[in-house]
Symmetry: D2
Subunit: 340 residues, 4 copies
C-alpha cells in the first residue's frame, strides 16, 4: 500500500500517522519526493482500512499495491480449481454447457425442455424456481414446487441441477440441488454469501450488473473465507449506455478472471445480450476466449414463456447452436463434456 | 404499449399475435405504415410481459407507453406523501437532516457523535449496526448490540433512529427502530423488500449503484404492493467512469423523483462523493434542487473510524455545514425542522 | 415514429400538433387508449426532429420506430459490402489482419516491425503518424514524415497502409494512404467526416469511447451521404467502470453491426484492453464472433515505445498469436487472407 | 510516480529498469516489501510515459502520484483566474448567465430571443452557427451567416457572443466572437485545441460525454500550453445508463473543478438534462454548488425550433427561472452580474 502525503503535511502529522500505522503491524517506509512524499507500507495490508487513512488531513491519496482478495487469487494457488458436479468436471479440460428454461413454469414445460437440452448435448440443467423480477407484477417463480420439479427432471434426464437462491431463509430447500446460483442482484447480499460459505455445495456466483471484477472476487472471498471453496464465477454482462443489448458482455472478463483467479469461469450469453440471435456468436466468442462453461436459456415455447421470452432459444435453435459450440470447444482443446 | 412489427411479418403471424394479446384483456389497434406496421395496446398493460411478445418472430421491438409503476406514481396520487417520524414530517414543508456515524462502533463513539449531531441541528440519527462491506475482512458492524446502542442514543437525544437492514432474518431486531434503511446493494433484494412491505414502518430505500430511477420505483412497488406505503426514496450516487469521486451524485434524480412520484426524496452526499470536502456543496445543491432531506455521515473521530473514515465529517465540520444548510433551506422555503 | 400524448392534452393542442406534423409530409394516425393517446406517424420520418415534437406541451414522449440510418442499413442493402484494398478483400470470405506499431517513431523501428508483421502473416500495415494523446506533453507523432515512412514501408513489404487522420487540414497528405482511419475521439468530428465523404478512399471508422452503435452508424451516414460508401466499422472497446482494462471490448457489437449493417467490421483488441496478454484471447473471441478483420498493435521494442508500450506485442508474441488466429479463422470458414 | 514490481522480477530486470528511468532525469527509490517491491520516482514525471514502463516484464502496475496537468492546476496557481469578457467578469465575485437559442435559425428568431434574454437578465448571448448533429439529415446550422447574425444581435443588445467552433478551418470566421465554445464532441479534437491555444480569446471548453475531469483538464493543457490561458470549463452532463435524462449532470464536478483548478466553471443544465422542467432545479443546484456561470438554452418558439426544441425555455419560462437564479446567486454571495 502506498500513501501519498499532501505537500502541506507537517512533520508532526506524518509522525502521528506513521505511529498509528505501525500499531497495525505493518512496517512503513517514507520516500521523500520533490513535490510530495509517500509512505510505503510493508506487510499484510488486507486488514488496513483505506478510508481511515484518508481521514488524516495530511493524506492526499492511498493506493493499494496488493490485491485485497486472497482465497480466489491465482498468485497463491497457481493451479486451476476443478470442481466435480455429479461427475462433470468444471474448471479443467472439459467445457460444460448448462441449459434450460429461465423459469420453471410447469412439469410439462420443464420436462419437454430438459429432455431436448439433454438430447442436444447440454451437460447440466438450469431452471429458475425463485425469480428476481424487476416488477412485483411479473411471474415470481413456482418457488418450492419449482425445485421439486427440477429434481424430478434430474431423475428423468440425469442432468445435475443449477438453480438460483434469493434468500438465506430458503437455504434448506436447496439441500438436493447440485449447484446453487447467486444472481447478479445478490452478488453483494453479504449475509446470503456468508450462509452459502457454510454450505458444502458448489456456488455459481454471477457478477453484479455494475460490479468490477475485483468486487466479484471480494464477494467470492465472503464465501471462501467461511470455508466453502467450491465457487464458479459467471460473467453475465454489465450495464452500459448501449441500448441495443440488455447488457454488454464483458468478454475480457473471461480471460482476466482465469488469469487472476484459479476458479472456473462460465459465461451466460442469454442474459448478457437478451437477444436470441446473439446467443450463438457470443457463445462461440466465450469458448474462444477460454471459458470453462456456458449457461444458456432454452424454452420449449418461448412465445408463451412467463419470463425472458426474447432471450430463450427453442430446442431446435439450441440444437444448432450446440453443434457449433461442440465443434469449436473441440477445436480449442477443451471439448464439451460427453455425459451420454 | 406499442409493438413494432417486422416488415417481413406475415398476416397470419400478426393475427396470431393479436389474438394472443387480446386474451390478456387488452385491446389492440393495428396501424399500417409505409416501412413497418405497429400495434397499439389499449388497457392495463402492467401485467403484459414484454419479453414474451419479443419472442414472436414477427416482432421487431416493443415500447412501453405507460410507466410500469403505480403505487409510487404521482399521476395517480397528485399530492405529496408526508410521513410522520416521531413528529418529524418528511415530504412536506420541512427539511429533515439525518446525521450520525457510518458504523456504530462503541457506546462512547455513538453517544459523543449523537449529542454533537443533535446540537448542530440534526433531526434524526443514523448509524450502521449491520454493515455491508466489500471485503469480509473489514469491520462488519456490532449487529444486534449496535441496534441496542442506537436505541440508547435515541433515549439520550430524542432523535429518531435510522439504521440499515441486510437480511430478512434480522427483521425482528428492528422492532423499535424508527426508519429501516435498505442499502444500495439490496435495492433489488426482492424477498427482503416484500418482507418490509408487510411492516408498518417507514422504509428508506436507497437507489442501487447502477439502478435506473424506474427500477428504483419498481422496487418501491414491491414494498407498497404488499401494503406498506411509508417509503422514502434516497439518491446516493451512481457508478460512472469518473474516478475522482466514489460515485456520481445524480442531482437531477431529486427533481425527477419529485416529479414522477409523490414520495419524499432524500440525498446522501457522503456516499455519493466519498469526500469530506464535497459534503457541503453537494448538500447545498440537493437542497436547492428540492430534496426533502439529507443523510450525512458524522463521526467524532474519523481518523480512527472503522469504516468510511474519509467521508465522515467531524462534529465541528458538521456544525459549520449545518449552518449553511439551515440558511439555504430557509431561503428555499423548506426550513430544516426545528425539533429543539 | 410514435408520439405518446399526455393525458392532459386538450383536443386543440392535439389538432395543432397533427396539422404541424402533416405539413412535414408524413401521415398521422391517432390511437386512443385508456390512460393516454398516441399518434403513429407514417412515412419517411428521418427528417422529423424529435426534439421539436417534444417541445409541444401535450407530448409526453416520442419513440422512433425506424432506424435513423439508411445508407449503412442492411434492410436496404441485404448483401455484404466487400471492399478491395490493394487486392485484399474485406467484408467477404477472408479475414484481414492489420498490424503494426501504435506510432511511427523512426525508419528503423517501422521497417523492422513491418517486416516482422508481414512475415507473421499480417495482411495490412498500421502505424500512427498523427497521434491523439491525452497529454500535450506526450509524443504527438512524426506527422507528415510519419506518412512518408509508412509509404516507404509499403514499398518494402507490399502491405497496404492504414493510418489515422486528425484534422481535415491534413487531408492532402493522405493522398497515397490506402485506408484512412478515424479515431474514437473523432467519431463525431462531423466536419472531418463530411470531408472524408468526398474522398474516394476506404475509411476505417472507430466507435467513440462511449458511443452507441446507432451513433456509430449515424456517423457512417455523414460519410456515405456525401458519396463515399467505402466504410469499415471498428469496435475498439467502450468506456465502463471496470478499471482492470483500458476499455471494455463490446464483443456483441461485432454480431450486431454485421446484422444491422452491410459494412465490414473489424476489432481492435489492443486498444479495447490495453493489456498485451489479453490480445490473443480477445482476437480469438472476435474471430469466433464473426469479425471481418483485426487491428493489432505490434512494436519491435515495446519497452522503448513512445506510446502505448503496454499494449503492443513483440514480433515474437505476434507470431504466436497469428498462428492461433489463422487456425481459428480457417476453422470458422473465413481464413486469413494469404497475400504471400 | 510509484512503480509496483512483480514478485517474479529478477534483480537484473529491476536494475535495467532503474537505469532506464534515471536516464529520464528522475531519481528512483526502491522500497522492498514482503510480497512485492516498489520503485518511487522523484522529480518531474509529467514527461514519463506510463505505458512504456508497463511494457517491462518485471512491472505489475504504475500509479501516478502527481496530477499530470500543470497550467490549470490550483496547486501552482492558488488564486482564481478571473476573465473579463466585455466587462463581464467570470471566475470572480459575480455569476454570469449565458442564454440564447440552441441554433441561430433566422434574424427574426435570434433578435426576438436575444432581446428577451437581455430583458430577463442574461449577461451573455449564446447561439449555434455551426451545429454538431448526430444525423446528417438534421439542421446543420447557418454557419458563416449565423455568426453574422450573432454579431448583429450583439450590436442590438450589447450582449457578448458565445458560439461554437467545429473545425480549425473556420477559425477566421470567429475573429469578432467574444467567447469561442468547444463542444463536448470536440473536447479531444487536439488539433483544434492547439489552434485555439494560439488565439487570444476566451475558450469555453465543454467536458466530453464520457470524459473524466482529469481528461478535461488535460485538454485545457493543450490550449494553455500553446499560450492561451483564457479558458472556461463547462460541465454539461455525462453519459450514464439512466434513460430518463439526456445526460446525467455531474454536480460534484463543479466543486471538484473549483478545487483542483483556478479556472472559471460554468454549468449547462439544458444539455445536461434535455428536459425543460429540469432547467430550473439544476440551475439552482449549480449555483448552490458554487459555479461561476450558467449556460441556458432559450428560444422564442421551441415547438418550431430546428434543434433541441425539448430543452429550450420560452422567454416567459426563462424570465421566471432567472428570478430564482438571481435571488439564489445573491443569497450565495455571488450575484448575477448587473450589466443593465
Amino acid at each position: 500500500m502506498v500513501i501519498v502525503l499532501k505537500n502541506t503535511a507537517s512533520q508532526q502529522q506524518v509522525e502521528e500517522l506513521i505511529s498509528r500505522l505501525e500499531r497495525s503491524s505493518v512496517k512503513t517506509n517514507l520516500v521523500q519526493g520533490v513535490h510530495s512524499n509517500i509512505i510505503g507500507l510493508i506487510g499484510d495490508t488486507v486488514h488496513i482500512d483505506i478510508e481511515a487513512i484518508l481521514a488524516n488531513e495530511c493524506v492526499e491519496s492511498v493506493q493499494r499495491v496488493q490485491e485485497p482478495y486472497k482465497n480466489a487469487n491465482r498468485k497463491f494457488h497457481p493451479d486451476n480449481t476443478v470442481l466435480d458436479i455429479c461427475s462433470r468436471q468444471i474448471g479443467g479440460s472439459k467445457t460444460q454447457v448448462i441449459a434450460g428454461p429461465c423459469s420453471v413454469e410447469s412439469e410439462k414445460q420443464l420436462m419437454e425442455t430438459a429432455i431436448a437440452c439433454k438430447q442436444a448435448g447440454a451437460t447440466m440443467l438450469r431452471g429458475g424456481a425463485f425469480k428476481p423480477r424487476t416488477s412485483p407484477y411479473s411471474f415470481q417463480g413456482l418457488r418450492e414446487e419449482g425445485i421439486a420439479l427440477l429434481l424430478k427432471a434430474k431423475k428423468e434426464t440425469g442432468l445435475p441441477i443449477v438453480t438460483e437462491i434469493m434468500s438465506l431463509a430458503h437455504i434448506d430447500m436447496f439441500a438436493d440441488v447440485d449447484v446453487i446460483q447467486v444472481g447478479a442482484r445478490n452478488m453483494q447480499n453479504f449475509e446470503l454469501l456468508k450462509a452459502l460459505g457454510r454450505c458444502d455445495k458448489p456456488i455459481l456466483l454471477k457478477r453484479g450488473l455494475s460490479s468490477t471484477l475485483e468486487e466479484l472476487l471480494m464477494s467470492v472471498e465472503y464465501i471462501m473465507s467461511e470455508g466453502n471453496s467450491k465457487v464458479i464465477l459467471c460473467e453475465r454482462g454489465i450495464r452500459t449506455f448501449e441500448p441495443m443489448t440488455r447488457n454488454t458482455l464483458d468478454i475480457s472478463a473471461v480471460a482476466l478472471l482465469k488469469h487472476r483467479s484459479h476458479l472456473p469461469v462460465v459465461v451466460d450469453p442469454s442474459h448478457a445480450t437478451g437477444i436470441v440471435k446473439l446467443v450463438e456468436p457470443m457463445s462461440l466468442a466465450a469458448v474462444a476466449a477460454g471459458c470453462d462453461g456456458l449457461e444458456i436459456e432454452v424454452h420449449c415455447d418461448p412465445k408463451n414463456a412467463l419470463s425472458d421470452g426474447s432471450q430463450q432459444l427453442t430446442p431446435q435453435a439450441f440444437t444448432q447452436v450446440m453443434k457449433k459450440i461442440k465443434a469449436l470447444a473441440e477445436f480449442m482443446g477443451k471439448p464439451v463434456d460427453d455425459v451420454g
